[in-house]
Every structure is written in structure tokens, then in C-alpha cells.
């Protein structure tokens, strides 16, 4: 990995290491080294460098709440906002435990898209009615309750890199890592 104009530039081997980590972040340096036919010290050095430079944001765990016996509903909220208050609304949303993701969207109107979880539909509605709708600048809200998931999680491989390497998203069992695309000079997809 090199730094060019303040942004990280990854080579093909870096991307292959990232891909291996995304498939299974619990793999040891030795296992990744065997997989890619390189020394474990090389794997160690490159991962450390990518951690240090913020290319790898963090290691986390994806839970299967259904298997853990937790009943919940997930919903995608589209919040139409007054442009002057949009930033504040996004910040307030980000502070809520019920909200998992918050993004702004480019469209004719300024939108905030948020992924939210609640124990049931009643609690979801109560959260939106009492905590989101009263926020200054919220013009209206559209909510879609997720009924079935076909793909979930964050994993980067074989999409942005060179030499046929690109990024995609996938779920893994156990630990996964978060890749910081902004530190690579890319916009997050």
C-alpha cells in the first residue's frame, strides 16, 4: 500500500488480503499467507499498514438475531427534510440506538435514508412518531418494513481494485471487517 496525494493506493496483493479477510476475518496471518502463497510476515505488515492508515476501519461481528431467538422488525425510513435542518436530523438519527444506518441521498428533494430496528411494529411506530417526526426540519416520512432479506452485510472484494479485483458485499459468519473506502479516495457505494 502506498500513499498518494493523501489517499491510500492499494496494489493487487493488498486487495487479495482484504478479500481473504472479508471472507473470514478470523483467519490467521499464516492461513492467509498459505492461501495467497506469501509469507505470513508480509500478510502481517500489510494488514498493520492498512489498519494504521484507516483503510481497515474495524473488526466486528454480524449476529443472526433470529437464531439468537430475538424477535424484531427492520424498516427502511425515507425522511424528507428541510435542507437547512438536514444535517441536524441526520445527526439526531445517528444518536438513536434503534437506527443502524443513516445516509443522505441525491435526488430532487433532500432525503435521509435510515435503517431502523424495533422489537415489533408497534414499537417501531412509536419510535418514529415520538422521536423522529417531532424533529425540526422533518417534512414527512415514508417507511417500508423489510419482509425478507436476500443479502446482507458488508464485504469488499473484486470490484474497485486493479487486475480484475473488484468489491462486492457479502455476509460472513463470525467476524468481518469494515473497509474504509473514503480513505482509498473512493466514494462509498
Amino acid at each position: 500500500m502506498k500513499i498518494k496525494d493523501g489517499a491510500a493506493v492499494l496494489d493487487e496483493l493488498d486487495w487479495k488480503i482484504l478479500q481473504a479477510l472479508q471472507e473470514n476475518a478470523k483467519q490467521t496471518y499464516t492461513e492467509i499467507g498459505h492461501l495467497l502463497d506469501i509469507a505470513h510476515s508480509t500478510v502481517y505488515d500489510r494488514i498493520r499498514k492498512m489498519e494504521k492508515n484507516g483503510v481497515i476501519k474495524r473488526y466486528t461481528t454480524i449476529l443472526d438475531l433470529e437464531k439468537a431467538g430475538v424477535k424484531y422488525v427492520t424498516a427502511i425510513m425515507t425522511i424528507f427534510t428541510d435542507p437547512k435542518e438536514s444535517e441536524n436530523v441526520a445527526k439526531r438519527l445517528s444518536e438513536s440506538e434503534e437506527v443502524l444506518e443513516v445516509s443522505t441521498s441525491l435526488s430532487e428533494e433532500l432525503l435521509i435514508i435510515a435503517k431502523v430496528v424495533a422489537e415489533d411494529q408497534e414499537k417501531l411506530h412509536s419510535f418514529i412518531a415520538h422521536s423522529i417526526a417531532p424533529l425540526p426540519g422533518v417534512l414527512r416520512i415514508r417507511t417500508s418494513i423489510v419482509t425478507r432479506r436476500y443479502k446482507e452485510g458488508e464485504c469488499v472484494k473484486n470490484f474497485f481494485g486493479q487486475g480484475g479485483i473488484k468489491l462486492s458485499k457479502m455476509e460472513t459468519q463470525g467476524r468481518v471487517f469494515k473497509l474504509n473506502l473514503t480513505s482509498l479516495g473512493n466514494e462509498e457505494p
Binding site: H125, P134, T143
Partner: protein, 111 residues
């Protein structure tokens, strides 16, 4: 007869977090809200039927009136209306009639 002090309390303007927010279904906020009984009366004349039906049958109106406006009498009247299962224009007409009658009575008692 309603006491002047309680009438004024029921007719007061509420802070934004205690306003009534009109939805059409779970999580779908119309952008309309009412922060007093007067504003509520105005909004129920204009808001879409779907929103009135959504809130009436969930018990949101009576809950807001009893819990937030602190008007048990009006809450009871809304509860009775719900038991008659009105929908569409009938619901709007009856709801507006009940609320406006109550509003006028409260207003009169504050004079």
C-alpha cells in the same frame, strides 16, 4: 360545567414533542401535526381519510386527548365514536362535530 382553569389548560399550545403527528400507516408520517385542540380541529377537516381511520382505530386520538391534552371528556366521546365504526366522510363529519362542539364549549367557559 368545565372550570376556567382546566379549560385553559386543555386549550393550551403544546410543545412540539407533545403535538399530534398524523400518519397514514405504521411509520408513514404525512407531515401534518397539531399542537393544540384548535389546530387539531383544523387538521382533521383537511387530512386524508386514511389518516383519520388509522388513528381512530388504533386509539391514538383518545390517548392524546386524555394523556396529553388532559381532556378525559373528549377522549370518552372519541371512544364512543370508535365503537360506531365510522369510516370515510362519516368519520370526518362526526369527528369534526364532536371536536368542534367540545372546542366551542371550552372556549366559552374561559370567557
Amino acid at each position: 360545567m368545565v372550570m376556567t382553569s382546566s379549560s385553559s389548560r386543555i386549550l393550551r399550545k403544546l410543545p412540539r414533542e407533545n403535538a399530534f403527528y398524523f400518519f397514514t400507516s405504521i411509520g408513514n408520517y404525512t407531515g401534518e401535526s397539531a399542537s393544540s385542540l384548535k389546530a387539531f380541529l383544523k387538521k382533521i377537516k383537511e387530512i386524508e381519510d386514511k389518516s383519520l381511520e388509522f388513528h381512530l382505530y388504533r386509539g391514538d386520538f383518545e390517548r392524546w386527548m386524555a394523556g396529553t391534552l388532559e381532556d378525559e371528556e373528549l377522549a370518552k366521546k372519541i371512544q364512543d365514536l370508535k365503537a360506531m365504526n365510522p369510516v370515510g366522510d362519516t368519520l370526518r363529519d362526526q369527528l369534526c362535530f364532536i371536536v368542534s362542539k367540545r372546542y366551542e364549549k371550552l372556549k366559552k367557559s374561559t370567557k
